[in-house]
Symmetry: C2
Subunit: 339 residues, 2 copies
DNA sequence: ACTTCCACGCGAACCGGTTCGACAAGCCGG
DNA sequence: CCGGCTTGTCGAACCGGTTCGCGTGGAAGT
């Protein structure tokens, strides 16, 4: 079951078997066929560990994702799935690492023990010690999201600033004047989560530009928090007629809160935001939102990483995506505000 | 940065360094301290590939999950997360393999190239060629779900038969007489998906036992399919007053269909089923359902696999879980059927 | 017939760990 | 004073591949 056994049966040396299989040196057609036949018969496959040791490449990429403390979102799942599939298409396996911080044991294992050739980082923060650490080491990695200093790195990201602004303009165009912003949990915002930060930023700037009256909220990643958040919004300003959210998991709760308050969507109240389309279509009425192309982002991230692995001297490349707003059924013209 | 370098700096042999770090043979306190100091200074970590080659263990487990063709469900995500965390607690990494069938390339890589010490199989079918293949090879694995011949294998599973039956009894106790069953997509049922098959089975038997009039449906894994399915249900038998579903992803669509049809939940129509609690709490009104303990299952699966890896001769162990129905707000007594 | 060249294949070294057998030094009891 | 035992360390072999340099035999060239 090892290469020596194949060599013995074929009556050739181990190196010849290696060359026959890798094609890195010419081998006569006869011996190549003989070797191939034996390999097929025995179902021989070379050991990944031995190969990795010999040529220094593991054919594995690490996917660093946040620990379970945060609830997972549907977007993350689509993302993981597409990364694994795209990696398989390039003959890479995917090793999962549930890492928060750079000092994390699991993260150290990936790098220190050289288990992976490169890494994809999810859930980027504006100041991200993992990203900085990898960059300092020159370790091949691609970030999903932009840090505060993105120019020199490889990344695939959504332009959250532009997306939040697009939502604001959409609502303003419909005549809404008092709009709330429902962000991810406060803890994520404080620790500098890029989507939460840039989204808030884009929302605030665009709202100022359009002269809207706004309030911004942080909201836990679950339905109950969403419902509570909506109650606060209507309590703080009952004249609010629309909201923008980045918080998928709270969406159901927001809807529930609106139903409880007797606000009909979209007649009395408009809802929009940035959400994976699977979620946008699950709620009733379906959410008008900028659809997060999670699967495409996963694929792009793998493509970028593979390119970086193949050409270690290649200059950084980036993809900054701005998906359009899909018009569904949750927004409409502003009516007469209830007071 | 390799063990020879450490040995050189400490003025000892490579084997001494190895023993000092692993503790498999006694090393004098002096030399151990000297070696440890150098290791700490240099931040040395042994190469995973070399270690795996030498001792035949990769410290990695494979997680075989379905390819993206199927939509992922929230349950799967919780599951993956908990597996990764539980594995990390046992000092194992997790390698993802998006495999459907036994002949799959990615699956072959896991086994043939000996990338993993053991595997966890998700999305089990009653006749599962992957599970049989692994069993035939004696390869350490734990299934999430039961095949048709479960007695000799290691698994963690829900008792879908009992859960579906519990839903039926719950509805029957509330006085419902005409009940629909909304299953996973037909293609999954036909290919022998165990949750779809056993759930259908448990539903049918329990309904017969209670003398209910039932209809069973397959439904695509998305909101639009759920809505369409509900329309068919009311079209086929407008007197239907309740449904049981296993289909998380269709749930939002089912609710939407009910709203469109003017059926109020739970006054006019009761909904229950087997669903991860995160989803059950997202819809309005919150779903009375048997909550799938995905995170717990992931943890148990890893525990079982680690036990099997540590004691290769251990007899098979299983966990068959029957979570209780969480009473929320989506079921109520049967009213007068609308005709 | 004698070089020249090329195509093929071989042996050995190497990747970076682990592990086994052996050996030296120190201590003990007889 | 000598044999036996323990403790600590070393050298070498091994895991299963890849890769480099060299040797050989046959065909081609003059």
């Amino acid at each position: 079951m090892n290469i020596g056994e194949i060599a013995r049966r074929a009556g050739v040396s181990r190196s010849t078997v290696s060359y026959a299989l890798s094609g890195k040196r010419p081998v006569s057609e006869d011996t190549r066929r003989k070797i191939q036949r034996i390999v097929d018969e025995l179902g021989y496959q070379p050991s990944a560990s031995a190969r990795a040791l010999a040529n220094g490449r593991t054919s594995t990429i690490g996917l660093v994702f946040p620990p379970a403390g945060n609830h997972y979102t549907g977007m993350q799942l689509d993302f993981i799935g597409s990364v694994v599939e795209a990696a398989a298409a390039h003959d890479y396996d995917v090793l999962l690492s549930p890492s928060g911080v750079d000092s994390d044991r699991s993260f150290q294992r990936l790098l220190g023990e050289r288990r992976v050739d490169g890494a994809i980082l999810m859930e980027i923060r504006l100041e991200d010690d993992r990203a900085e650490h990898l960059a300092a080491l020159g370790f091949p990695s691609v970030a999903i999201g932009r840090t505060a200093h993105p120019e020199d790195g490889w990344y695939v990201a959504l332009d959250h600033t532009a997306l939040a602004a697009a939502c604001v303009h959409h609502l303003a165009d419909l005549g809404h004047r008092r709009v709330a912003f429902v962000n991810r949990p406060e803890q994520l915002l404080r620790t500098g989560y890029e989507s939460a930060q840039r989204g808030l930023d884009g929302f605030t700037k665009a709202a100022a530009e359009r002269g809207l009256t706004v309030r911004t909220y942080c909201c836990g990643d679950d339905a109950a928090a969403g419902q509570a958040c909506l109650e606060r919004i209507l309590h703080d300003d009952p004249a609010t007629t629309a909201l923008v959210t980045l918080n998928e998991a709270a969406l159901g709760g927001l809807y529930r809160g609106l139903a409880h308050a007797g606000r009909h969507v979209p007649r009395d109240f408009s809802v929009t935001g940035v959400v994976a389309n699977r979620w946008a279509e699950t709620v009733t009425p379906q959410l008008t939102a900028a659809d997060v192309p999670a699967a495409e982002m996963g694929r792009l991230a793998v493509d970028l990483l593979v390119e970086r692995l193949d050409h270690s001297d290649a200059p950084p490349r980036q993809h900054l995506l701005v998906p359009p707003i899909s018009l569904r059924a949750s927004t409409g013209p502003a009516g007469v505000p209830q007071t």
